[in-house]
Symmetry: C2
């Protein structure tokens, strides 16, 4: 796979992400580790909740979608993540849901202080198998130009 530098990225370019399936055990496991709200970890409590059943932590959804976005990036010369944009949640993710991530590069800005690197965002819109919106979010990365030299 050819290494991609900041200069190779195109504003608006789509990343082709494989679908993501989030199953019951993964929801409970992530919830227990990182976000132990009753509706993420306890089937009975979840049934009594506004959701009427188990739903994934949004951090789990975001993380699971990040996996396929990173795979779709290919070998990009990412130096560091620098931030995450606001995330909006629309519909919950339930066990067995299939998620489709539409991701694209945007907001490409060469660094002013260090001309051998640039900043770029990936914005993501996630829908489920019923075509309902699930979550929108984005990352901001620092990326090396081809002439990058390690400080």
């Amino acid at each position: 796979m050819k290494k991609k530098y900041f200069d190779d990225l195109k504003d608006g370019e789509h990343l082709h992400c494989r679908p993501v399936v989030i199953n019951r055990d993964a929801i409970i496991d992530f919830g227990n580790k990182f976000d132990p709200q009753p509706f993420h970890i306890d089937e009975n409590a979840a049934r009594e909740s506004l959701f009427g059943g188990l739903v994934a932590s949004s951090l789990h959804t975001l993380s699971a979608c990040t996996r396929v976005v990173v795979e779709a990036q290919g070998d990009v010369a990412i130096l560091s993540g620098v931030g995450m944009h606001e995330a909006k949640m629309f519909n919950p993710v339930r066990p067995g849901d299939i998620l489709y991530v539409k991701a694209r590069w945007t907001d490409l800005n060469k660094s002013r202080s260090k001309p051998d690197r640039g900043f770029a965002s990936i914005m993501c819109k996630v829908t489920n198998q019923r075509k309902e919106p699930v979550i929108e979010y984005g990352y901001r990365y620092l990326i090396a130009c081809e002439n990058f030299t390690m400080p």
Copy 2:
């Protein structure tokens, strides 16, 4: 533990979060599952990176800190998460780092359309054992009032 409703929350009230330790195996495990950038999963690649060694995925840091924030919430009548605020990353998290989360309730707004519930944010500032800033982020929740009735 007494159930806390939206009306019980106070703007500016702090949550007392226990420290978070992020170790090497957890960094690699999270990276492999959710954010397989070389500097999260491969010790050798990480050494050659701008970080000079393994660093945690920011999603991992955010998730691990969320765990202690949720514990510190106590039994709050959270109906749903509705969003996450922008996250800013300052310094990387390295194996063995100890993270301190300063979290507080803020932006309490009663729902206009449904007076039995309200919205509230938790804003978090995370520092490490060297008192360096690590990450700032926040969640937005929908929370039941005491007179909440299930629709």
